[in-house]
Symmetry: C2
Subunit: 585 residues, 2 copies
């Protein structure tokens, strides 16, 4: 447990708050990393223990730590580990032997090495000087620019969140553990450190699975069947679903730290359980560790550093947590997993703690998830595997571009429809009414029919102004939310696909390795078989993705067009009514 860390900045403890005063450069021993709220518990060289802001300490020094710590290290445990040194001569020079999806072989390497959104090459779709990608990981970086009328979810267009909004980050695998009370509130340090970004905690490469001498004989089995559309996961008869609702404020540490607790009710038990955002984040980390190599696990909705008790923000976060949970529930592998089940159905605090500990000890994580997959179909030729992989890579990249284009356009649309356009309708309305009241002052008799009608027409345009301003929340909002969700999901594919590409590369090296007597001919056969299994897994996942995508886009487009029709029909009806008040002379 005793992870050593270095202090980055001076920190003065507040009295009576269980905090520890530390100096820059000091070495601490982490005694409890699960404090949450942006804090860790640490011990200094004098044996004093207390809370220190997570952001004030440096994890990346790789001070000695041992496997099995609470942090998500690649627990290889009881699985027989191959001697990876045989790959040293073939591994990329820059990175350690571990697999790093974001560099080298990554299919969207441009997109990853230039996280500012530079791969969104739909420049034609981005006229009027809109800058794309202001903030590296801002989900709607293109076009949002902190504009007060930019799309930020329902009810958020004019509130105080605007300034903080652009600072959010939702990078695929980054930004965990800071919880709800970010240390941003306590000090000036803006650096955020993610455990998952430390080289020491990176996911191991696919060779761990490909050359594993003996696959674990656990109870876990993830069968893949041949469906109408190709390889498919095994879907449960009843689809799991849940409702995220009823956010409540809670507090801890004598009221010094406060948080929001959500009620989650699954359709299986119909019994609600409570969870904080930090628990969702824990679940996300577990799912990512366990399934991330095979299944894209989308990030949780953005963390909000300040003002998190404001009603609108909570509502929006809840809506997005609901969206995230629904997506997880819909996944046959995720929804059936022990960790997901315990999150949704724990009976009491003890049950939850036990389940939590068990999940954290789960050793079938990272690429080893493939060892539980059982494909019933014939073994695939490596060339075919590569083709499939390339096809999915191209598709997800193209879809990512398409989704970003919609987000950019939608954001512009949102700004116009909540800002200048209603103002304009209002001004038209006012101008008609003003002229009408001038007419009223003419002293000419028989004027009232016209002036009444003009006033009514003016008021109608004011009503239309109101309608216009409120419309995006009724239709565009859902298009934005869906595409935003897909943007997040698609952002996970480079890593997932990268695992497969790396495996394919290893298999390609098979002959050389056999020739150099680094592996046996049998090892090569095993590798080919296992990469075939991986390919079935990817195909099952892509088919799952496609069927969900078709469902989601059908649904959101229908909803959008339905609301659009209503909107234009209502305007037409209002104007028809206004028109009827004018008499034909």
């Amino acid at each position: 447990m005793a992870q050593k860390v270095q202090v980055l900045y001076d920190f003065a403890a507040e009295a009576g708050n269980n905090e520890l005063t530390v100096k820059e450069g000091e070495t601490l021993t982490v005694t409890n990393q699960s404090i949450g709220g942006g804090w860790i518990e640490a011990q200094n060289s004098r044996g004093e223990v207390g809370l220190v802001p997570e952001d004030y300490i440096e994890f990346s020094k790789q001070l000695p730590s041992f496997p099995g710590a609470a942090a998500p290290t690649p627990s290889v445990g009881h699985v027989a580990t191959p001697d990876l040194s045989i790959f040293d001569s073939f591994a990329p020079a820059a990175a350690p032997a571990q697999y790093q999806a974001s560099n080298g072989n990554d299919p969207w390497s441009v997109w990853n090495t230039d996280p500012s959104g530079g791969s969104n090459n739909n420049s034609a779709s981005n006229p009027e000087g809109t800058q794309t990608g202001k903030s590296p990981a801002d989900p709607w970086s293109s076009g949002s620019q902190g504009h007060p009328q930019a799309y930020q979810g329902p009810g958020a267009e004019y509130d105080e969140w605007d300034d903080e909004w652009d600072d959010k980050s939702t990078g695929g695998y980054a930004e965990s553990e800071s919880g709800e009370s970010g240390a941003m509130q306590r000090g000036g340090a803006s650096m955020k450190i993610s455990l998952n970004k430390f080289p020491g905690f990176s996911k191991p490469g696919p060779e761990l699975y490909l050359l594993c001498k003996q696959l674990a004989k656990g109870k876990e089995k993830l069968p893949i069947y041949s469906g109408e559309v190709g390889p498919v996961w095994s879907y449960p008869e009843t689809q799991l679903d849940c409702v995220v609702a009823d956010p409540k404020k809670g507090s801890k540490m004598y009221g010094l730290k406060s948080y929001i607790e959500y009620q989650i009710t699954p359709n299986t038990t119909n019994r609600p359980v409570n969870h904080r955002y930090k628990h969702f984040d824990w679940l996300y980390e577990r799912l990512l560790d366990k399934f991330g190599s095979a299944i894209p696990i989308p990030s949780l909705p953005d963390k909000q550093v300040t003002g998190r008790f404001e009603e609108e923000f909570i509502k929006m976060r809840m809506e997005r947590l609901q969206g995230w949970m629904t997506r997880m529930c819909r996944h046959p592998v995720v929804s059936c997993s022990d960790v997901f089940q315990i999150f949704l159905t724990y009976k009491d605090e003890k049950d939850w703690k036990t389940g939590k500990r068990k999940a954290e000890k789960d050793e079938t994580v990272g690429v080893m998830i493939f060892s539980t997959i059982e494909a019933e179909a014939v073994e695939l030729d490596p060339v075919e595997v590569e083709q499939k992989c390339e096809q999915f890579s191209r598709f997800t990249k193209a879809m990512d571009d398409g989704v970003k284009e919609i987000l950019t356009v939608g954001n512009e649309h949102w700004k116009r429809w909540t800002g200048p356009l209603p103002k304009e309708y209002q001004r038209i309305g006012k101008a008609f009414q003003n002229l009408s009241s001038v007419f009223n002052s003419s002293g000419y008799q028989g004027e009232s029919t016209l002036t009444d009608a003009m006033t009514a027409a003016g008021k109608t345009y004011e009503e239309i102004a109101q309608m216009v301003a409120e419309q995006p929340k009724k239709d565009l909002h859902f298009v934005m939310e869906t595409n935003n969700e897909y943007k997040g999901l698609l952002g996970c594919f480079p890593d997932t696909i990268g695992v497969h590409k790396a495996a394919i590369e290893k298999v390609k090296e098979g002959d050389k390795l056999v020739a150099a007597s680094k592996i046996t001919a049998q090892d090569k056969v095993t590798m080919a078989k296992r990469v075939s299994t991986m390919s079935y897994s990817l195909q099952a996942e892509m088919n799952h993705f496609h069927s969900n995508r078709i469902y989601d886009y059908n649904r959101v487009m229908q909803l959008y067009l339905e609301e659009q029709v209503k909107f234009y029909e209502t305007i037409a009806a209002k104007l028809r009514q206004a028109h009827s008040q004018f008499t034909t002379m």
Copy 2:
């Protein structure tokens, strides 16, 4: 005929073009001022005669000329002229004894002394930094700014006229006689000189009429009756109307000067006559001279200095000439006048020339028009006269503000609906189609229903983009044209009302003048009677204005709303169709 003028700039004659080379400072004698096309014929001191650009000569030096010249001098002719010297001590110091509506007593003096539109104090209606009043007399100066998408009449939003457009002037009584071939094309002189602006040619004050010893016994009678709404003009049984159509290019001076001739067909004869813009301008000047003191005569549509053979421009000018003619036809006094009748119904060139000469010799012009008015109602008390006058002044000023607000708002609306808004709909359409074509590349079966529907939805938004861009021409255009016409008409009221105010002031001075034996008690009685007649005239004119206004605004609002309803209904129908292509899953 021999008016002396001075040359402002050197001008070198083109060979074979009947032109005269002149030097700056040289004195010329005008031999023919009715050449038109921006030219006059003049003789130099060496006796040489030729054409000189009108803009190159200075009229305002007031070199000797004698009454009865072709220029519209205040011909008092056979009417007994009062000794106006009695008013010298009461006249404003700055201006000559003549009445000048644009200064002093003018009810909208701010508006007139600051012709850049400074009186449009609806600053609230002009946000987003739109500058008002860029060009002094530009009818839509507020907000037009040469923006390519500014409202400039149908079909003109992207053409080459933009630059020239702002240079136009349509000042109430200014800018006559330059005809269609402005000298702007020939030299660098940008100064334009209007005969009507010369002090020597200004309209005489109302005292000419008020103290006229003996009113002319002409055949002209303009009776005013008591109608339901108050004093009204005598309306003809059948309302005159005409159609302006079929513009044709013609040329003169061996093809060097070219022009457009319009065909005007009155409903009375159903026989077309041809007129050039310059003839309309001539008619305008005659009507202004004759009726301007009693009836606001709106300016002709803008002159266009360059590019006047472009189809769109001709179409727009014709539309506006039609509007102007229709308004003149609807006026019972104007439409029945000899000069208007000869313009519409001349039988041949000789008939036209005779009528033209006769009209130019008409002596019942300026304030003397009141001498032909016969009100059958009881004489009004001067206090009542003043109240009526003030009421009309307030109303017309308020309406002018209201109309300008609509033009400003409409101009903004025009820009948005022909520029950014359709672009946005197009981008939405493209984004849907792009995503649809990405989906098409998924390789997943059963995708086509969604992709076909999404493509159709995308195309629908592209169609909507087209509809949006074209809509202002179908509805807003008419609102703009009507309000623009009214802006022009309202701009004439300060002068018309000013004549009445000046008359009221004179009557107020009556007692003093009698006490000083400058006028007799009988003169005072006569003045009061005549100012009462003037008041009936103004009331009849206001009632005419009101009834036309109610008709016009009823009509244009109906048309606008009708087209708006159609527009929104069509969009709703298109979207409903697009919606129906998505299948419920």
